[in-house]
């Protein structure tokens, strides 16, 4: 079965590997390269476009780098290697590269959002400035480079903003392995706050185990739960912290499978749900229900062979509507879900 490349990457980052997954990823990797090559048959630019995907893959492999940042770095590389002489030409090249990146993995929201963001920045600057081409170009490159730092700094900003919400003696429930949430907890631990973390196992990629590992290294008391034990332990939880793969226009989030469930339970028990997400994850999507998004599949290893007539729900992510979220911590500040649309309108319209 096909596997979403995005989740492949994440699994790679987490380093939680199963033999099954390995085999599939090998296969997927070769397939990706092939399709990557096939897509790029546009007149004369095949060499360059191909390298966009390559560049992107290179950047992506770094565990600490967000997808969107990797994409933007790849686009910066496109600018650097481009032979265009005018802004218009450069824009067109970039558009092509961005499209090919997006189509290479249609399921990754932050990738799409990152590309869109950068393209938006490009069109805006090229429209406004009448300076000469080279300086514009170098400015674009510089901006793209800065983006990487922005991402890293964004995490720090978010961590700082959320410190006020973590009080001594609190119990935090965490789902999925988000690097932003990790940063938040790390900073809290460094600030000598006393709190404990309950983390869900996060099947099927079991990212919760890795998270528990990391937290244990920081001497934070951690307790592992299986996914089904969330409602059982929700009583003793003070707040829920999750990251986001993407933040959609309604203010809801798209995140690892299980987030919606946890948000529902938390909401019914009046526990706040906090989302930590950088602002470049804001995407112009608006799902109406769970099935309204593009599918992102991830094979599940049950440990025992499943007969072929049994279907398996392999979706890797779900959509949490904004009414179940309390606050969003972003590098733009602490926002309520309805502000997301405001930001997107200002950015894109």
């Amino acid at each position: 079965m096909s596997m979403s490349a995005y989740y492949q990457t994440r699994a790679a980052h987490h380093g939680v590997v199963t033999s099954d997954w390995l085999a599939q990823s090998q296969e997927a990797a070769t397939r990706a390269v092939v399709t990557g090559g096939q897509e790029i048959v546009d007149g004369g630019k095949s060499g360059r476009a191909f390298s966009v995907i390559d560049e992107f893959n290179n950047w992506r492999k770094q565990p600490d780098l967000a997808e969107a940042v990797a994409a933007i770095r790849a686009l910066a590389a496109v600018i650097r290697n481009s032979e265009a002489k005018t802004m218009m030409e450069l824009e067109i090249e970039l558009k092509k590269a961005s499209d090919s990146l997006k189509s290479w993995d249609t399921t990754s929201i932050s990738l799409t959002a990152g590309c869109d963001l950068f393209m938006r920045y490009v069109t805006r600057t090229s429209a406004l400035e009448y300076e000469d081409f080279n300086s514009a170009r170098s400015r674009l490159i510089e901006r793209a480079e800065k983006f990487g730092e922005i991402s890293y700094k964004a995490r720090k900003i978010i961590a700082m903003l959320s410190q006020d919400f973590i009080f001594d003696g609190c119990t935090i429930l965490v789902h999925g392995f988000s690097r932003v949430v990790m940063e938040v907890l790390k900073m809290a631990a460094q600030n000598k706050k006393l709190f404990r973390v309950l983390c869900t196992e996060g099947r099927p990629d079991r990212s919760g185990l890795r998270l528990a590992n990391e937290l244990a290294k920081l001497d934070v008391p951690v307790k592992l739960l299986i996914d089904s034990a969330v409602a059982y332990t929700m009583d003793e939880v003070d707040m829920v912290f999750v990251g986001a793969d993407g933040v959609v226009e309604s203010g809801g989030i798209i995140n690892m499978m299980g987030t919606y469930q946890i948000a529902l339970v938390a909401h019914s028990m009046n526990k706040p749900v906090y989302v930590a997400a950088e602002s470049y994850k804001f995407a112009r999507l608006y799902p109406l229900d769970q099935k309204d998004m593009g599918p992102a599949l991830r094979p599940i290893d049950f440990g025992v062979p499943i007969p072929s007539k049994v279907e398996v729900e392999t979706s890797a992510r779900d959509y949490t509507p904004p009414q179940y979220l309390t606050l969003l911590f972003t590098d733009l500040g602490v926002l309520t879900p309805s502000v997301v649309s405001d930001e997107l309108i200002q950015l894109y319209l």
């Binding site: 112009r284 109406l288 309204d292 309805s338 894109y348």
Partner: protein, 649 residues
């Protein structure tokens, strides 16, 4: 008045929300409109006993609620008369009593202390202001810097009074609203100095002459287009000040509405339970409509006429109405007869009629094109209102139109000006309606999947376009059309869909909860979407949306952005339209159920035929506009970001 004021004990009470004072202070007639300084308004911020409690507050309140800054004032009232008021007023600082606070505030545009005082009294809604308050520290004619609240400055203000401080709109008749658009701020700033001089001159003259109620109209601050000016609207009979969307007669005893202000926020609809106003408006009416006799008490503030004779009456007046342009007359008759219905259709018909008016227009000698044309348009608008009350889309279009006229550079020749205006109308129709619809259809079609069951209510042109487009794209879905009496608008939609080959189900609204379980999406149209996300549309929509919400079916409202409005409405009562009660009493073609038919005048029985209702935002999942798909909470963002843009095109 002074006596009353002085004896009033004004507690330091912060009054929140709109307050009706039962002060028996009937608004003086003509003089009131002008500068009536604070006197007239001290106790009654809200103009008056005329207004019944259920009415929509007059524009100034609106704008306050929306925290717009007022732009301007009329001439500064004399300082002496103002003095005593300040004393009273000091105690009321911070109270949401616009009348008190704004009156007679001679805020010097450049004087920060004065500004901050102004801000003091306005501090309350200053703090609540959203958005554009950051506009400079000084506002042209009347804005206030609401950033700080300093009470002690109040006393300074008194000291300032006697000096020739250019009054900022304080003057009576002024609307207490602070309506300031940043564009006005910018524009006004350039002419502030000139205006200040003229204002000072006027003040001096006024103080000397003690004349009242006259406004230094064009003379004042003559610089710049009249729209920056505080134009006191003379009397309600002065059409030039026009811009009243709802007919200048409404302004009646009101303060002179300023043009910019009117551009920003439409004047309140006339409340028909005020007999005096109704009588006055009748005198100006183009044709006579007898009012319905047996009206529901709660809806007395809305106009209701005997429908039987209206059309024949109007037709008979055809040859007598030489002041009426035939195109406008035609549109009016079409509205009355119900031939043209639907927000977009009505708006386009009206704009096309205005185009013809403009083409045929020639400036009479001795008048300027801008003023005269605006006056003409206002009178035509009043006529159209008599035929059928305006929809919000029409209101916005008229506002746009008037602002375009007002912005015409004075150097243009008449033909050029006319061509420019016609062009603008074309562009408006094209961009805001036709192209907008195309964009909406494109967005909405992405939300239709194979196997969907789509429900729609009534007949919305945009929804029809969406369904047809999705069908053309080859998506497999079926449609449920929900309809209701008395208009049965869904039947026309049903016919057109069937003609194109869509599979449809037709039902009435009483079965909507029965059929909702099989529905996957609900598409609804809207007459307007208000700033709190409330959708104002055909009566019955709220029901459908509520049932859909209960069944967790997503509700998508499809509405062009030009129909968005800054108003906020909490229920369907305060503003609505009443239709013909005979339509409810009678079921055509069914003599056996017509027992109600002749009982419309019975004392114990009242018929209520509402045309619109308000759907709360929590039932709406998403609004599809030409700006994309937005959540209902983002409507004020669109209004904020784009209202300026198209008014300033």
């Amino acid at each position: 008045m002074d006596a009353r004021r002085v004896s009033q004990v004004v507690p330091k009470v912060r009054q929140v929300g709109f307050v009706t004072h039962s002060d028996p202070n009937p608004p003086p007639q003509a003089s009131r409109t002008q500068s009536v300084p604070i006197e007239s308004n001290s106790g009654t911020p809200y103009d008056s006993p005329d207004f019944s409690p259920v009415m929509i507050p007059p524009p100034r309140h609106h704008s306050e609620n929306l925290s717009h800054l007022r732009s301007a004032a009329v001439a500064v009232p004399e300082s002496s008369s103002r003095r005593p008021m300040w004393d009273d007023r000091v105690a009321v600082v911070g109270s949401y009593n616009p009348g008190n606070s704004l009156l007679g505030q001679p805020v010097s545009p450049n004087s920060s202390e004065v500004n901050s005082e102004a801000s003091t009294t306005l501090g309350w809604f200053g703090r609540n202001s959203s958005g554009k308050f950051s506009a400079g520290s000084s506002f042209p004619g009347g804005g206030f810097d609401l950033t700080t609240v300093k009470m002690e400055n109040f006393t300074q203000l008194e000291g300032k009074k006697p000096e020739a401080v250019p009054g900022k709109g304080g003057g009576g008749g002024v609307e207490v609203n602070n309506r300031e658009s940043s564009s006005n701020t910018l524009k006004a700033k350039t002419t502030k100095a000139e205006r200040r001089e003229t204002q000072e001159a006027q003040r001096a003259a006024k103080a000397a002459g003690k004349a009242q109620g006259n406004k230094p109209v064009a003379a004042a601050g003559g610089a710049g287009p009249s729209n920056i000016l505080r134009q006191p609207s003379q009397n309600r009979d002065d059409p030039a000040v026009g811009s009243t969307i709802a007919g200048s007669d409404r302004r009646g005893g009101d303060r002179p509405p300023e043009r910019e202000r009117k551009k920003d926020v439409p004047p309140p609809r006339m409340q028909f339970d005020d007999q005096g106003r109704v009588n006055k408006s009748k005198k100006r009416a183009v044709f006579n409509q007898p009012e319905a006799k047996n009206r529901v008490e709660l809806f007395r503030h809305l106009p209701q006429y005997e429908h039987g004779s209206q059309l024949t009456d109007l037709e008979s007046k055809f040859l007598e109405l030489d002041s009426m342009h035939p195109a406008v007359y035609k549109v009016g008759v079409q509205y009355l007869a119900g031939d043209v219905t639907g927000g977009n259709a009505r708006c386009i018909a009206m704009l096309r009629a205005f185009q013809e008016v403009i083409n045929d227009y020639s400036t009479p000698p001795g008048k300027t094109l801008v003023r005269d044309l605006t006056a003409k348009i206002s009178s035509y608008v009043s006529f159209l209102i008599e035929c059928r009350p305006l929809s919000m889309s029409m209101g916005n279009a008229i506002r746009f139109q008037k602002s375009r006229i007002a912005k015409l550079p004075l150097t243009l020749s008449e033909t050029e000006a006319k061509a420019a205006l016609c062009n603008d109308i074309d562009r408006f129709i094209n961009e805001k309606i036709i192209l907008a619809d195309k964009v909406i259809v494109r967005h909405a079609a992405t939300k239709v999947r194979d196997g969907d069951v789509l429900l729609t209510y009534g007949s919305s042109c945009v929804v029809e376009m969406i369904l047809l487009y999705a069908h053309e794209l080859g998506k497999q879905f079926r449609v449920v059309v929900v309809d209701s009496r008395p208009k049965h608008e869904g039947q026309a939609l049903l016919r057109r869909l069937l003609a194109k080959g869509l599979s449809c189900t037709y039902t009435h609204i009483n079965a909507v909860s029965y059929i909702m379980h099989e529905v996957t999406r609900v598409f609804l149209g809207a007459s307007s979407v208000l700033s709190n996300g409330t959708t104002y549309s055909r009566v019955g929509t709220a029901c459908v949306a509520m049932v859909a919400h209960a069944f967790r079916v997503p509700v998508l409202i499809c509405c062009e952005a030009y129909k968005f409005h800054e108003r906020v409405q909490l229920d369907s009562i305060c503003s609505n339209e009443l239709g013909d009660s005979n339509d409810i009493a009678r079921v055509p073609g069914r003599p056996d159920v017509n027992s109600m038919d002749n009982r419309t005048n019975e004392k114990n029985l009242q018929f209520l035929n509402l045309m619109y209702d308000a759907t709360p935002s929590e039932y709406v999942s998403m609004i599809i506009t030409d700006y994309g798909m937005i959540p209902p909470t983002s409507v004020p963002v669109i209004v904020r970001e784009y209202r300026r843009e198209y008014l300033l095109i």
